[in-house]
Each structure stands twice: as structure tokens, then as C-alpha cells.
């Protein structure tokens, strides 16, 4: 049977190649997802850790276990606590780089042996730290002994800093007034040395902090002997801190879930609960997990259409192959092969083909994964951002499922055919039933379901914002509605097509040329055969279009939005000098600022223009009891560095700026001053800055949108509800504010032509000239958006889908028509015999292509645009819900459309050329002989 199968395959090499192509792509697409997930999530995880570390200035992989006991209250025991802490770290399974244990008695009064400067009492903390001696240099004296001295003293050392701060000298002796050793003898310490840190940046010192300036340190072993142990601990108030520095860079994404649950376990652990602190790693990991879940769901959903299309492609090709093999099957059946044997033969073929496809499919998955990881925009890839591809066990599962689905899709059609005997074959040729989906009105049902989905989602848009804010992913149902809508509309159009043809045919029947007549009639009568290819093309085009629209829209909206919020290419604030010290001392009455040199910005290479912007987010409008952002601008300078789309506001940007410039005291207000605070044009308002200085303004206009302004901000409360805050803004003239308030610190807004490169060079070369307290660079923000796993994954997956779809479209369409023409050679022979010219036959084919291909392209385009307009605004919410300020604009890049339609156009053209070639080489008499078999 295997050899029969191979024989069969060799004879159908084109079909087999198509099946292989479909299988390879299916496996690659399915398997590249887990690959990409692992690699990109790893990148995301380390980015999150780095960001946290940068922002908070701490090493996120720090576990602190602290334990303090009061005299008379010890329960757990320090030894136990230390073991519990060690065990916890073992449980976490992380790589511990450093391990610091510090111990101390409560700070208490100590009486010096020799009184200096009339100080007869000091508060000194006796402390110890494991392995301390390995990390210090003694400047003076000795390392403390690990036993009590013969005269009952505990030897200690002190840091050079503490020596000064505490005024302690080597040789000093102190006796603690209220604490004694366990045998009742007084607790006496002697300072025997002074040390300094070998390297103060070492991890070892991370948990010492300022204590180094206060404490005296004894031998840790001796400390434990003196104060630890069941019999002793009850007598002392003391503490211990165990710090573990672990390497967060070694955490792999697959460990995250386990790590989080281990960390959560500590909170329930009786010994550790409340005493263990994860130093930020828990926050980072939890944030990562939420984000990862969201991204994972989103990316998975985005992939579904292309996977379905691939399966449909396999189904179609398998069906075509069966059509060609109908005679063989009926022959097999008539010669006594059981139905099961026929199915078995095809099943074996499916398994064989899809298994063979694994060999090129998996490496291709790695290529796809690299492509995904390097995508910078839709259909744009940059080698700069490459991704380490790691093969994991996951991909076996995904690849297995791909193979399984492929086997199912390519075997299903066989079941219908396997019952064919020669008799039934003859009968079936005379029957042309309506497709099941038509009888079931599947198109109408799908449209109804998806429209309901659209309706309920659009009604609950705020709900969606809240869900996304609380860390949930894009609701899969939304995307399902989107896909079902495309499918439903595609099916509906495929249902409609025959009616359109019939209508056209009925009207023009009498006047048609023979070739057009034959072609149209053929398309009408054999419509069921074309249904699938038409549907396939419609889906290809519409999914292709919506892919480009989703990708372009999501990224460009995020970028535009960020640009709006940032305000200009570069927004910075310098450190201003002031006389606050004098004001505090009473040497000056009012606070005055010293303005840094502004002219330098105008000389920086790459900076087109610079302007001063007073920007105070903590201003007030006292009469309305609202806080507001006060913005003071130089209108022409501001116009040079910012941009606003005119259609967003009732008036053009220029008009706003002109009216502001016309009166020094003019103010422009955010629209909610009018709608919620009942201010009108012509009103006079008083507003204050954060320092409480007031100014008066005449209201000249209201705006909906203004650079940096967002009317509302959403935030998530701890109880999970979303809070909406109204934001107010007052825009006025910089010159007026300065006149009124004196020199006021301002932000500098720059318009650059080189993405800020010149500026950075300047900052590097002139560190003293630029002392910044704030810097926002639009180019960097943009890069961050593009590099964000969510955006990049979306872009990558949609680009990949798009490419795969185009490929399928080319191959599927070509193979369909080549097969279709091959099966009609006899017919063409008859037509030629009846005197039809070759070019008439070609025209017949062209008309056929118009009825199917062109129809599919046009309707597919229409469906793609319609469905994107309906669903993309909602899908987009999953990406930038909290910061969406600007209204969403659907972005279509004409180059994508050109690409899409050029490829499809080329497909049609190639298809026609190939078909015409087949027709022209077709020998009439040979074609006719075919029928004599």
C-alpha cells in the first residue's frame, strides 16, 4: 500500500508540491509562535528587570529576610529563621550570587570606660556580619578576636566614618548599662581596630546602608555564641537580616510561574510571613506575568486567521487532488477495495506528507521567528534587532497539532469520495447539489453573530478600556467576531455571485459573443466548483487588508498619541539655580531663579528650533476650585516645534495661536472649562501656579486637543474599578507670565531633524552646560513602542500572515485554474472544432477570471475595509487604552495596498498567461481524442 501511495504521489507531483507547501507553511507558522514567545518574552523579561533596576536604583534580585525580637518575646529562634531563609532561597531555585547576613543588638546606652569631652554615655549598636573580614581593610588595629578576652571584653572594630561621627577611638571601652551576658557578667566592648571597605560598590555592602557609620562590629561567630540559642535569645532585644543577591538575568521565562508561586508561598509560610521582602523582583515578575498573559492571548488570537486559511488551503488542494483521482478511487472500489482501505490509503498519504513537511517546516519556523523578532513595522524588518531563537519542548506540541490538523483537513474530503464506485461516479457527475453552508444559511448566521458581537462590544467600549487597564488581554470574542464577520461576509458574497452573474446574463444573453456567452454560462452552471476558490480569494484579500490596517493603525496611533503627549521632538527641563538657601536663612525675601543659557539650544546641530514653555502641572483656577496645568508659550516658537491636526479642534491651530498672540493676557482653555465649569469666551479668570503666584487672563477660546493635553485620564483603583479624572489646562503667553511672575523656570521644547542625535552629542561633549532634570525624546519613545513585544509581535505576526496569505493566494489560485483548464481540454477541443478562435478561448478564460478572481478581489477589498472600519478601533483598545488621547484614525498605507493588489494582479496575469499557453499548445485533434478513452 505504501508503494501504491508513493506511485500515486509521483504522478501528481504538482499537487503534492502544493500539499507540501501548505503543510510546511502550516507547521512553520504554528511552531514559530512558541519559538517567538519564548525568545521575545525572555527579552521582555530582562527589559522589565532592567527598567525596574534603572528606575528604582536597586538590584531587583534581592531577597531580604529580617527578624527582630524583643527581650522576653523570642519565639522562632534566629537559627531557625536563618535556616528558613536559606531554604526559601533554595525553593526559589535562583542562582545566589551573594549572601549577606548581618546581626545586631538593639541600640542602647553604653558607658565609656574613659570619659572624654564630658560625654559619659553613648548610644552604640553592637553588630556583626558574616564574612565581614574578607571585605574590609584594617586601617589601624586588629581584627576582633572570636572569643571573649580574658578580662571579659568583646573586641570590636569600627569604620573610619563612624570613628568620626561617633567620636570613638581605638582602645575605647564601653559597658552596656542595661544588658548583660547570659552568665550575668556585664556586656563590655573594646574597640580594637578601624576598617574601611575594600570596594564600597560590592554587593556585600548592599544591606549595611548608613549603619556602617554607627555600628561597632564584633566577630559573627562570637555574636552567635553570646546571644543566640534557646536559652539566651529571650534576654535580648535584637535583630538579624539575611540578604540574598540573586541573578535575575538568569531567570528564564519558563521559571516565572513557578517563581511567582514560590514567592507567594512565602507569604503563607508561618516563619517567613511578613519578614521576607523580595526587593522588587516580585513586582517585576507579576507585572511581567500579567503583560505576558495579555500579549500571549493577543498574539495567539492574531494568528488564528492565517492558520485557518492554511487549513482551508490544504482542504482545497486535497479536494482537488481527489477530484483528479475520482476515476482511480472508483476503480479501486469496484475492484473490491473496502471503503476503509481507500480512506486508509489517503490517511497514510496525509500522514506521510505532513511528517515529511516537518523537516523543512521547523527550520522555517526558526526563520519566521527571527523575522518576527526583527520586525520594526508592518512588512519592515531590521537586522539590528535580532532575536535568539531557542528550540523548546513547546514547539513539539504545536508542530504535532499542526500535523494533526493537516491530516484531518486532508483526510476529511476523502470520506465523501471513498464511497465512489464507477456507478456512483457516473451518477454523481450528473448531480450538482447546493453546498451545505448555503442550505444552513451559515453566512447569514455568521453575519448575525458577528454583528451582535460588534454591537455589544461597541456598546461596552468603556468596559473594554477597564478590562485592558486591569491587565486583561484583548477579548478573544472581539477578534472572533471580527474573523466571523469576514468569513460571514465572504460567504455571503460567494452566495451572491451566481445571482449577479445570472442577472447580468439574463439581461445581455441575446447580444453576447459566443465566447462570453459560453464563459458566463459555464460560470453560472459550474458555480459550485468555483465557490471555494472565490471564497478563498475573498478571505485572502480581506484578511490581507485588515492585517495591514490593524498593524499600521495600532502602531501609528500609538506613535501619534505619544507624540501628542510628549509635545515635541525633545522636551527637557534644566536644573535652575535659585536663592532658596538665602530665603531660608532670611537673607532674601523672595525666591528668584537664575536662568540657564538658552541660546545654546539654537546652536546645537540637528536642532531646527527651540522654544521656551512654562509648564506647571500643579496650577489652579481658584474661582472654579479646579487644578489645572498652566502653559505659557511663545506662539511662533511653539508653532515651530509642535504639530496639531486641524480637524481635531473647531478652529485651525494657526487661528488659536494667532488669537493668543493678539493679546498678552489672552488665555486658551481646555473645552471642559466651558462644558463643566461654565466659562465663556470673554470671561476673565484668575489662575495660579504651583507656587501660589496668580495671574489674570481673558478667555479667547476653547480647545479640545492641545499638545500634551489629555481631557481625561483613567486609573485603576486598588479595588479594580477604573477612575476617570478630568484634566484642565490654561494656555497663555510666556511673556505675560514672566512679566507677572518674574523669571520662571521653563521647559525647552526642541524640533530636531536627526532624532536627537546632535543633541545627545552636545550633551556628552558639554556635560557642564546641560544639567537636566527631565528629558523626553520622541525618537526614543517611538523606538520603545516599536520594540515593545506587544507591538512588535503584532506587527511581526500580521506581516508573516500577510506574506503567507499572499503565497497561498498565488499558489492556490494558479493551481485551481490550471487544474480546471486541464479538466476541460476536451471542451476546448470541441469549441475549437466548432470554429472558435484561440483568442476567443482566451477571452473566455478572461471572462471567467473576471467573474471569479476580479469579483473576489473587489468584494474582498470591500469586506476588508468595511470590517476594519468596524472592528479595528476596538481591537486597538487592547494596545493603548489608558493613554489614548487622540481620536483613532484608521491608517491605510497605500504602499501596502499597492503591494497586495500588485501581487494579486500579478497572480491573475500569470494565471492568464499560463492558461493561454496551455490553450495555445493544445492540439485540437489530440484534445478531442482525450474524449475517446
Amino acid at each position: 500500500m505504501f508503494s501504491l501511495m508513493l506511485h500515486k504521489l509521483i504522478h501528481k507531483k504538482w499537487m503534492v508540491l502544493c500539499l507540501l507547501l501548505g503543510n510546511i507553511l502550516l507547521i512553520a507558522v504554528a511552531a514559530c509562535y512558541p519559538l517567538y514567545r519564548v525568545s521575545s518574552f525572555q527579552r521582555m523579561l530582562s527589559d522589565e528587570f532592567e527598567a525596574y533596576s534603572e528606575e528604582k536604583g536597586v538590584w531587583p534580585g534581592t531577597v531580604n529576610v529580617t527578624y527582630t525580637t524583643l527581650k522576653g518575646g523570642a519565639k522562632t529562634g534566629f537559627e531557625n529563621m536563618q535556616n528558613a531563609a536559606d531554604e526559601a532561597l533554595l525553593d526559589m531555585g535562583v542562582e545566589v550570587m551573594d549572601h549577606i547576613s548581618t546581626y545586631n543588638l538593639a541600640t542602647q546606652k553604653a558607658v565609656p570606660g574613659v570619659v572624654r569631652d564630658n560625654v559619659d554615655e553613648k548610644r552604640i549598636t553592637l553588630a556583626a556580619a558574616d564574612e565581614m573580614w574578607e571585605h574590609v581593610n584594617l586601617i589601624m588595629g586588629d581584627i576582633p578576636a572570636d572569643t571573649l578576652t580574658k578580662d571579659g571584653f568583646i573586641e570590636t572594630v569600627i569604620s573610619a566614618k563612624a570613628m568620626i561621627d561617633q567620636d570613638i577611638l581605638v582602645g575605647d571601652e564601653y559597658t552596656y548599662a542595661t544588658t548583660a551576658l547570659i552568665d550575668g557578667s556585664p556586656l563590655k566592648v573594646r574597640v580594637v581596630g578601624v576598617f574601611e571597605q575594600i570596594d564600597e560598590n560590592e554587593n556585600y555592602w548592599i544591606s549595611f546602608g548608613d549603619h556602617l557609620k554607627e555600628n561597632i562590629y564584633m566577630d559573627p561567630q562570637l555574636y552567635k555564641e553570646c546571644f543566640w540559642g534557646e536559652d539566651k535569645e529571650n534576654n535580648y532585644s535584637m535583630g538579624a537580616k539575611w540578604t540574598y543577591i540573586w541573578d535575575y538575568r538568569k531567570v528564564s521565562v519558563s521559571d516565572v510561574t513557578a517563581l511567582i508561586s514560590t514567592m507567594e508561598k512565602f507569604d503563607r509560610n508561618k516563619t517567613l510571613s511578613g519578614r521576607i521582602n523580595q526587593g522588587g523582583a516580585d513586582t517585576v515578575l507579576n507585572e511581567y506575568a500579567t503583560k505576558a498573559k495579555r500579549i500571549e492571548a493577543t498574539l495567539l488570537i492574531l494568528q488564528v486567521p492565517v492558520l485557518l486559511l492554511l487549513l482551508a488551503f490544504l482542504y482545497m488542494i486535497a479536494g482537488q487532488m481527489l477530484q483528479m483521482e475520482r476515476n482511480e478511487i472508483s476503480l479501486l472500489r469496484s475492484r473490491g477495495a473496502a471503503k476503509g482501505q481507500v480512506i486508509g490509503l489517503y490517511f497514510m498519504q496525509s500522514v506521510f506528507l505532513s511528517t515529511v513537511s516537518l523537516i523543512p517546516g521547523l527550520p522555517l519556523a526558526a526563520v519566521f521567528c527571527k523575522l518576527l523578532g526583527s520586525s520594526t513595522a508592518f512588512l519592515e524588518f531590521s537586522a539590528r534587532r535580532s532575536l535568539d531563537v531557542k528550540f523548546t519542548g513547546d514547539i513539539v506540541i504545536y508542530a504535532f497539532f499542526a500535523v494533526l490538523m493537516s491530516v484531518i483537513m486532508t483526510t476529511i474530503p476523502v470520506i465523501g469520495f471513498s464511497g465512489l464506485s464507477i456507478v456512483k461516479l457516473k451518477q454523481s457527475k450528473s448531480r450538482s447539489g447546493r453546498s451545505l453552508w448555503k442550505k444552513m444559511y451559515l453566512d447569514i448566521i455568521l453575519l448575525a453573530i458577528s454583528s451582535y458581537g460588534y454591537y455589544s462590544f461597541s456598546k461596552n467600549e468603556n468596559m473594554m478600556v477597564m478590562n485592558v487597564l486591569s491587565g486583561e488581554s484583548l477579548d478573544p470574542l472581539l477578534y472572533v467576531s471580527f474573523s466571523l464577520f469576514i468569513l460571514g461576509a465572504g460567504l455571503f458574497c460567494a452566495r451572491l455571485q451566481p445571482y449577479l452573474l445570472k442577472a447580468f446574463f439574463a439581461i445581455s444573453k441575446k447580444r453576447l459573443k459566443p465566447s462570453t456567452y459560453a464563459s458566463l454560462l459555464g460560470s453560472i452552471r459550474t458555480g459550485a466548483k468555483q465557490e471555494f476558490i472565490i471564497l478563498f480569494m475573498i478571505l485572502t484579500v480581506s484578511i490581507g487588508i485588515s492585517d495591514t490596517m490593524i498593524a499600521r493603525t495600532i502602531v501609528s496611533n500609538a506613535v501619534n498619541n505619544t507624540r501628542h503627549i510628549v509635545g515635541a521632538d525633545i522636551v527637557l527641563k534644566e536644573k535652575w539655580g535659585d536663592n532658596s538657601a538665602y530665603v531660608q536663612n532670611g537673607q532674601a525675601d523672595t525666591l528668584t531663579y537664575m536662568e540657564p543659557d538658552f541660546s545654546k539650544f539654537e546652536t546645537i546641530e540637528g536642532v531646527n528650533s527651540a522654544t521656551k514653555v512654562v509648564y506647571d502641572t500643579e496650577g489652579k483656577v481658584p474661582s472654579k476650585k479646579v487644578s489645572a496645568t498652566i502653559m505659557g508659550i511663545k506662539t511662533s516658537g511653539f508653532y515651530g516645534v509642535t504639530e496639531m491636526t486641524d480637524s481635531l479642534n473647531p478652529y485651525s491651530y494657526e487661528e488659536y495661536l494667532n488669537v493668543l498672540a493678539s493679546d498678552p493676557q489672552a488665555v486658551l482653555l481646555s473645552e471642559n472649562f466651558m462644558t463643566k465649569q461654565e466659562l465663556h469666551i470673554g470671561d476673565v479668570i484668575t489662575y495660579e501656579n504651583s507656587a501660589g503666584k496668580s495671574a489674570v487672563g481673558y478667555v479667547y477660546g476653547f480647545f479640545k486637543y492641545w499638545p500634551t493635553y489629555s481631557a481625561q485620564t483613567y486609573s485603576l483603583n486598588t479595588d479594580g474599578t477604573v477612575e476617570t479624572t478630568d484634566n484642565y489646562m490654561v494656555v497663555t503667553n510666556y511673556s505675560y507670565l514672566v512679566k507677572r511672575w518674574g523669571v520662571t523656570p521653563y521647559q525647552v521644547w526642541l524640533d530636531t531633524s536627526d532624532e536627537g542625535e546632535g543633541f545627545y552629542r552636545f550633551a556628552e561633549e558639554n556635560p557642564s552646560a546641560l544639567r537636566l532634570t527631565k528629558l523626553e525624546n520622541m525618537a526614543e519613545e517611538e523606538e520603545a513602542i516599536i520594540g515593545d513585544t506587544m507591538f512588535q509581535g503584532t506587527n511581526g505576526i500580521l506581516s508573516m500572515s500577510f506574506i503567507v496569505i499572499l503565497l497561498l493566494c498565488v499558489v492556490g489560485y494558479l493551481i485551481y485554474w490550471i487544474m480546471s483548464i486541464r479538466s476541460r481540454e476536451l471542451l476546448f477541443g470541441v469549441l475549437r472544432a466548432m470554429g472558435m478562435r484561440k483568442r476567443e478561448i482566451n477571452w473566455l478564460l478572461i471572462v471567467e477570471q473576471i467573474c471569479s478572481g476580479l469579483f473576489a478581489i473587489v468584494t474582498g477589498g470591500f469586506i476588508g475595509i468595511l470590517s476594519s472600519n468596524m472592528f479595528v478601533p476596538m481591537i486597538q483598545k487592547a494596545y493603548a487604552a489608558s493613554e489614548q488621547v487622540l481620536p483613532l484614525r484608521l491608517i491605510t498605507k497605500s504602499s501596502d495596498m499597492i503591494q497586495l493588489f500588485a501581487v494579486i494582479g500579478a497572480v491573475l496575469a500569470i494565471c492568464l498567461v499560463v492558461l493561454a499557453r496551455i490553450v495555445s499548445t493544445m492540439n485540437i485533434s489530440n484534445a478531442l481524442k482525450l474524449g475517446e478513452d
Binding site: P514, A518, L827, A833, M834, G835, M836, R837, S925, G931
Partner: protein, 224 residues
């Protein structure tokens, strides 16, 4: 003898055979077919009769020789004129399914009229032809819904519909039972008289020979 409508002079057709000597399918055949006759080309399978018929019907070119149709050597005509000839002057009936599968019986016949660019009174002529072949009641049936004999009768109706001067029929009875075959032959004879058309058909069935006005027999590509 009446007027000669079709004449061949030393027609020869050689097919190149890959890796072997060329094969001569028709060798030096000269025949004359009078107008308004039923001419039968007889011979066993592989005797070259179909090849000869294809050349006569301007579907194929002879390697050498002349084919004179109504005073014109059609071997000298260009493809365009031959196509025109086929659509206006000639009708074909083939051995097996030669109907256009997506057209009904009526549409198949009408299509021949469309091809010949006949615009007037198409409907009545189609009905007339179908009634003539005894299928007046099944005009709107699709080919798949008809028996082999019925399909062949539709093909005959189609071949005659546009008033061709000559009809070529390649083994029109080969797939039919003897009863039906005789009916088809009778139909041909009827056409010859009623429509004043010339019919050239091939057959290997010796029992039908008697029906022919002119009979040529071929063996290994040669007339005997």
C-alpha cells in the same frame, strides 16, 4: 454523378515518433465526395480514418497533398479562414461526448448558430432541429441527464443547425447499441435529403455500410 463538394489529392499525413521512424497514418489518399451524399469512410481501428477525417474537417493539416472543398484548397488557407470555414460551413459529430456539458440540449444547438453568427430566428431553427432528431420534448435537459444515444442526437442537431454544407461524423455510432445506431444512420440519411447536406462519417461497423451513398475503405492509411 452530381457536383463534387470535397476532393482530396494524394493526401499524406506523417506523425513524428520520438526515438523511432515516423509513422504514416494516411498515405496517398485521393477521394471524391459528391454533394448531398452520405459518404462512409470504413476501416478498422487505427486504419487512419479519423486522421483523414480531421484533415478533411480542417482540424489538422496534411503533410502533403491537397484537400479541395467547394473549389478551394483548404490546406492553403490560414488558421483564421479555416476557423471561419469550420464555424459556417462545417458541422462536427464526435464519437463520444461532444456536447458542451454546461449547456442544455437547446443551448448546445443554439450555440452552433451563435458561432455561425446567425442572429435571426434562432429559436425556431433550434426547435426544428431538435424535433428532427426526435428530442422536441427534452430540449431543456442537460447532457448529463440524457442517454448516450440522445446526446449523440443532440450533437447531430447541433451539427446541422447552422445549415453547414458538410457534416463530419467520427464514429458517431461506436458507443451506441445497434438499435440506436441504426436510428442515427436513418437520421443521417434523412438529413441528407431534408437539409441537403453532405455527411462524411467514419465507422468500423460493417453492418452500417449499406446506408452509404459512397463508401471508401482504408487499411494502414491506404485506400483499398
Amino acid at each position: 454523378m452530381s457536383e463534387i463538394i470535397l476532393e482530396t489529392k494524394n493526401v499524406k499525413r506523417v506523425f513524428p515518433v520520438a526515438g523511432s521512424d515516423p509513422f504514416t497514418a494516411v498515405d496517398d489518399v485521393s477521394i471524391k465526395v459528391p454533394k448531398g451524399s452520405l459518404c462512409i469512410l470504413k476501416g478498422r481501428s487505427g486504419s487512419g480514418k479519423t486522421t483523414l477525417l480531421n484533415m478533411l474537417g480542417a482540424l489538422d493539416y496534411p503533410t502533403s497533398g491537397e484537400i479541395i472543398f467547394d473549389g478551394t484548397d483548404i490546406t492553403k488557407l490560414n488558421e483564421n479562414s479555416r476557423e471561419k470555414l469550420r464555424r459556417n460551413q462545417v458541422g462536427f459529430v464526435f464519437q463520444s461526448v461532444s456536447l458542451i456539458p454546461m449547456m442544455s440540449a437547446y443551448e448546445n444547438v443554439e450555440f452552433a448558430l451563435r458561432m455561425a453568427n446567425i442572429k435571426e430566428n434562432r429559436g425556431p431553427r433550434v426547435e426544428e432541429c431538435l424535433k428532427m432528431v426526435g428530442l422536441g420534448a427534452r430540449m431543456n435537459h442537460m447532457p448529463q441527464e440524457m442517454s448516450g444515444g440522445e446526446q449523440q442526437r443532440v450533437a447531430i442537431a447541433r451539427a446541422v443547425a447552422h445549415h453547414p454544407a458538410i457534416i463530419f461524423a467520427d464514429e458517431p455510432t461506436a458507443e451506441l447499441d445497434s438499435q440506436t445506431a441504426i436510428n442515427v444512420m436513418n437520421l443521417f440519411k434523412e438529413m441528407v435529403t431534408k437539409e441537403n447536406v453532405t455527411i462524411i462519417m467514419t465507422t468500423h461497423d460493417t453492418s452500417l455500410m449499406g446506408a452509404g451513398d459512397v463508401v471508401y475503405e482504408l487499411e494502414d492509411g491506404k485506400l483499398i
